[in-house]
């Protein structure tokens, strides 16, 4: 473990002893809890104190966080299948009926009204007639699962995938929909699934953040930061946003600052803090803060290394398409490659976004209201080759064995076109996401929408169940992983959810 056993430029023996003593206390009985209480100061973290006691009752489980090393690996509740998660999030609501959810009846009834829903108003406007996908579907892989021609390369990997065709959302608006998919709540201010997981488990490489969000080269998604927010959890568990185009903020000082200047400042700071600590013996938070500078120094070294794609082979670059003539495809490909490098280095949760919002409806994302065919023909290739290469790469390197891949979007789209438009309106009543890798059945399809893809009708599931299943695969009990806040035990799955046992391998 890289930690305080190694010599630190900032932390004296005195500081080390103080931290070790506190860590020892934290690991032992009830008094330890009080030592932590003093450190963490606030009610939320106070809850740490109860975890040992409640363990016996099947009550809430609240991991003990060492403030000097918030990202340190922590044990799961039970043996995990997955050690890390990659979530590919297609922002803008990627149409299931044009990608993964094959509906022969929709093709047959093309141009007819959706039965029983003649006067339906969905999100943006009145519904028009049923409209078949502009792309053909054909059997793919060994299993022969029908997938559309829109995403041929991802389609070629259906044998690895575990489809959930009966996903539903509680909202039909993008922002709340993304919030719901990322945090379980449609309103803002709740911790992201990645934040919950890094709170629970820390990470296997403390020199990198436990949770990294990789925004699309085109910008951030609809709900922007809220997708990787720590909500009420400690700020250390917030997703650190960076991608192949924009490195971690403030990793280095502005260019005009000399290295000698930075070194002089760091050395003086170390001395000042050390002497200050000596004047305030017993204040572990001061020592922990010194340690955070040490961690920052290591991050300054490890983040550029992890982001350095030049170390990858030419074959790899070509497979992902990092040098593709289409700059957005190449940009997303670099983000995909970055994702693999981060996962490889032990980052616990990588949330990789495809699509951004600033340019408006459907222009830079999957929100195909008016010109579905034209827009998807732009967006699909950007996703297809790089994401397929990433999945294939994880498999080739044996990483799928203990990496869970989740492909998702905030909700689906209608099988009908909007009245007077060439695109589909929002549809939270049934859509598709898929899992791959650690601990899930494949090839496998779970649940189904009706004959047109309008509503989930078979084994209807929801985001809470998806979250519960993700936690389960990581060895976490979604009903017990908890944080006490604003007068209640808070959970990722609120009061809902069950593990979708059927998809577990």
């Amino acid at each position: 473990m890289l930690g305080f056993g190694t010599m630190s430029p900032h932390l004296s023996l005195h500081g080390l002893r103080l931290l070790d003593r506190r860590r020892f206390l934290a690991a032992s009985g009830s008094l330890s809890a009080m030592a932590l209480v003093q450190l963490l100061a606030q009610d939320g973290l106070l809850a740490v104190a109860d975890s040992a006691a409640s363990e016996n009752e099947g009550g809430p489980l609240r991991p003990q966080i060492d403030p000097a090393a918030p990202w340190r690996a922590r044990p799961s509740h039970f043996a995990p299948k997955a050690r890390r998660v990659l979530m590919i999030f297609c922002s803008g609501a990627c149409s299931h009926v044009d990608t993964w959810d094959y509906k022969p009846e929709l093709i047959r009834r093309d141009g007819q009204p959706l039965p029983g829903q003649e006067n339906l108003i969905t999100f943006q406007s009145e519904a028009g007639n049923l409209t078949r996908s502009p792309w053909n579907f054909r059997p793919r892989g060994e299993c022969g699962k029908y997938v559309s021609d829109l995403l041929p390369q991802l389609g070629g990997l259906v044998d690895e995938m575990c489809f959930i065709h009966s996903m539903t959302s509680i909202t039909n608006t993008h922002g709340p929909g993304e919030n719901h998919m990322s945090t379980g709540f449609a309103v803002e201010g709740y911790p992201s699934v990645g934040a919950w997981i890094s709170y629970a488990l820390g990470t296997e490489n403390e020199n990198l953040p436990a949770f990294v969000a990789i925004p699309d080269p085109r910008g951030v998604p609809q709900s922007a930061q809220n997708n990787w927010s720590a909500g009420f959890l400690p700020a250390a568990f917030q997703g650190t946003p960076f991608n192949a185009q924009r490195p971690i903020t403030h990793l280095a000082p502005p260019q005009h600052v000399s290295e000698a200047g930075s070194r002089a400042a760091a050395n003086l700071l170390a001395l000042l803090n050390e002497r200050h600590l000596a004047r305030h013996p017993g204040d572990a938070e001061l020592a922990a803060r010194i340690a955070s500078y040490e961690l920052a120094a290591r991050l300054q070294l490890s983040a550029p290394e992890a982001s350095d794609l030049s170390a990858e082979s030419q074959t790899t670059h070509e497979a992902y398409g990092t040098n593709h003539a289409h700059p957005l495809l190449a940009g997303f490909a670099r983000n995909c490659l970055l994702a693999r490098r981060l996962l490889e280095r032990g980052v616990r949760f990588v949330q990789l976004f495809n699509g951004a919002y600033a340019m408006g409806e459907g222009v830079g994302n999957w929100d195909g209201h008016k010109y579905l065919k034209d827009q998807y023909e732009v967006h699909a290739p950007i996703l297809d080759q790089p994401a397929a290469a990433l999945l294939q790469d994880l498999k080739t390197r044996g990483m799928l064995h203990d990496t869970l891949v989740v492909w998702t979007t905030e909700f689906g789209r209608m099988p009908v076109f909007q009245k007077g438009a060439q695109g589909r309106d929002h549809n939270p009543s049934g859509f598709t996401c898929w899992l791959a890798g650690a601990g899930v059945k494949h090839p496998y399809s779970y649940g189904a929408t009706d004959e047109f893809g309008y509503r989930a009708v078979e084994k209807v599931t929801n985001v809470y169940e998806l979250h519960a299943t993700i936690l389960h695969l990581l060895g976490l009990d979604h009903q017990r992983l908890s944080f006490f806040h604003n007068g209640a035990e808070q959970r990722l799955t609120f009061v809902h959810g069950r593990v979708i046992e059927e998809v577990l391998a």
């Binding site: 969905t122 922002g175 070194r263 400042a265 001395l271 803090n273 305030h280 955070s292 600033a358 007068g487």
Partner: protein, 958 residues
Amino acid sequence: MLAPRAGKTSALWVSNSQGYNSNMRVQHLVCLFTGAVWLLALPARAAEDAFLPVARLLVKYCLECHSGPEPAAALNLTTREGLLAGGESGEAAVVPGQPEQSYLVHQVQSGNMPPEKTRRVLTEAERQQLVAWVAAGAAWPEGRVLDPYDFTTEHRAGKDWWSLQPVVRPSLPAEAADPWVRNPIDAFVLARLRVAGLEPSPEAERLTWLRRVTFDLVGLPPTPEEIEAFLADAAADAYERVVDRLLASPRYGERWARHWLDVARFAESAGYEVNTARPNAWPYRDYVIAALNEDRPYDQFIVEQLAGDQTGAEAATGFLVAGAHDLVGIKNIEGQLQQRADDLDDMVSTTAGAFLGITMNCARCHDHKFDPVTQTDYYGLAAVLAGVQHGERVVRLPGYEERLRHEPEVRRELAEVQARLRELLWMHEPVAGSGQVRPPVSPVGNVDRFLPVRARKVRFTILATSDAEPCLDELEVYTAEQPPRNVALEAAGGRATASSVYAGGALEIHQLAHVNDGRYGNARSWISAEPQAGWVEIELAEECLIDRVAWARDREGKYADRLATRYRIEVAPEGGAWRVVASSEDRALYQPGSPPAAPQERLPPEARAEHDLLASRIDELRAALPEAATMSVYAGAFKEPEPVRRLHRGEVMQPREVVPPGAVAALGRPLELDPAAPEPLRRLTLARWIASGDNPRTARVMVNRLWHHHFGRGLVATPNDLGWHGGLPSHAELLDWLADEFVQRGWSLKAMHRLIVLSATYRQASAPRAECVAVDAANRLLWRYAPRRLEAESIRDAVLAVSGVLDLRMGGPGYDAFEPNTNYVKVYIPKTNFGPAEWRRMIYESRPRMVPDATFGMFDCPDASRSQPQRPTSLTPLQALSLLNSPFMVQQAELFAARLRREAPLDTTAQIQRAFLLAFGRTADEVELESARAAVASGGLESLCRALFNANEFLYVH
């Protein structure tokens, strides 16, 4: 009543200190304690006495299911009748006097009830109690109906929960006589410490206390001068005078407003996916700062924030709508209802949490699981607030009424001064055709002077423009008399005709009638339909002697296109021929794009001085007009609401019965309000109901907030929740004493601050002491002052103060920490270049919702998604990176270094000492001096400054 209560709480307190927070043992004691109070509060009636213990068992084990409109198994255990009638089993639940015939007893004895899933089991003693009660005849007071909320149990709070009981001022403990005690606060604190066998810490050093109290009250470090003065002040009241100075400083309101704005979930954008900015939300922020600085009584502060539109504090209602609001319109009805329900939930939850310490949102879908708050309570509050809509409304700012009284004379003088100014400028313009080259045309205003001439008609003909069709916002024709009159005005009988009108007059803002309507600006203008050409003619009411024509493209200065660059002005007398009186021929060439010189630039010095005098008088007079004291403020709009219905499971598509406006029943006095009361009266009535000394929560909640901010933790650790999950106060009597004192002192916050920071408790040193850590590591007993990291705003403000560039301008629109952009959706890209505009206190940073400040957001700034009464203190390596490397901090270190060079030129040692004094309030010792010299030698003064800004000594108060 006081004595037993005090005894119980102190005994209780000891166990509480060892395992705070929903600990079973503690809660059991809570039950005993509150039960005792309840008992004492009741008249001693025999039946009641016999009944009570069993009533408590029924509440605790049975009523969760066996009560309400649809009790489980049709068995209602809230009344004697229900008990005797039994449920689906057909048997009586209880046969008085015959336990063995009683179904209820059987079920309990066999372990069937309570069911296993509840994980609740009666103790042997409780079972015997139940059996004995049935055997003794199952006494049940006449007509008594049990309520599941009657008693606090191990699992939840009942109506007897401590914070629902009236505040009763406790007598001072015997420790009041102890020499350590400076005021009553200390007596309560010392009493608790002594029960635990502890003593308080020694007094903090003077400098430590000064730094502590200065950051605490004003959020800035003490200046070297303030430090020197205090350390040298041997007077007995030196501490008092520091506190009075700090409380009188406007910096106090800026510091403490932040605490309240966190609670009010105030942010200056809508939130959700479009997160559009709310540029007119800041008056609420300024209202809070001003209210705190003026020490507005807290009861008034409450009323204003809920109903300030009724009490002359308009911007205060910004509180109601300070939360997020989804601007994305949904077409279907369910989506619209859901959005509205979410808005109302935000208002209800924030109001209840902020003022009453109730977690009201728990009762949105079902009765509260832990506090005696029903779904009906929730929808009653929702009905009070149901008329509040997100959005702006035009409000009158302070001073409006006064301005209105003086408006006629201000307008009169304004017209006079404007005329004089105009005359002054025009008299210095050359006369057309005089041979002197006249200045080029200007989009914002031109005058063409000519020799007096009799005219019935005036024609302005455009021959060329800067581009496109020409635009005139107003054409004025003045008489050659004193004072000159504009006879072109339609109101003066002028009649306009023109060659053409833009778009055939289809655009409301470009009409021929606008050319002589007396109103300026693009929105009241005429444009011709001919590129580069067109004419306007004014026929005057009668022939006049005239000597000038004034015209402009846009006197408001927003538009510079469509400017007439070549033109001629002709006049004709009654029945006479046209003749040219002025034209562009003798004007200098117009240079498009280059800003035209203002006419005052051309004035000779004496006239220029007179001009400036008049111009500043015009500014003064304009600022004195009533409209200068109005603005559109994001303070909500109000309309009469539809009836509010309870939503089954909180689902908008499952409305149930109508709920009239109401308050929280468990808080005692109901809201006296006609169900049909008009909207404003609903809010006003609720506000007054809250802002009352009788309300058991209001004063307690606020003094607990003050305590929280002064000591880092409230007497109840959860300032927005004085219910079950908030647990017991660490010092119940102190909390009640403070609450009562607060009301007695006219709800003065400053009086309470003064009391608290001048206490011996607050003056303690911060060093941990082993014997105390062993008993109370969390310092709930207050055996020391717990050290704290500065909050984000204090760090930033302190950095600016120390670097010497802090701009203390108060109020008005905030500065933006993000680059401006006009995307479809506002994209918040952090600025990386900072200048004086960003060097105001951080309370004046326009804070978008959900988007943290790039440098300081990491330091636990709330995202304003919901009310946040306390901030965590987290530690992440990204904080270290921000303080070390961010452009903001690097620049501040450079500015700090520049300040040192200015204030201690050419002497490194003096510079280092000055730096330590400014940053830490003390000088460096020899070791520090030596290391600092080394740092300066290899990295410059900037390296020293960067190190100081990152030092724990800078970032923590002790």
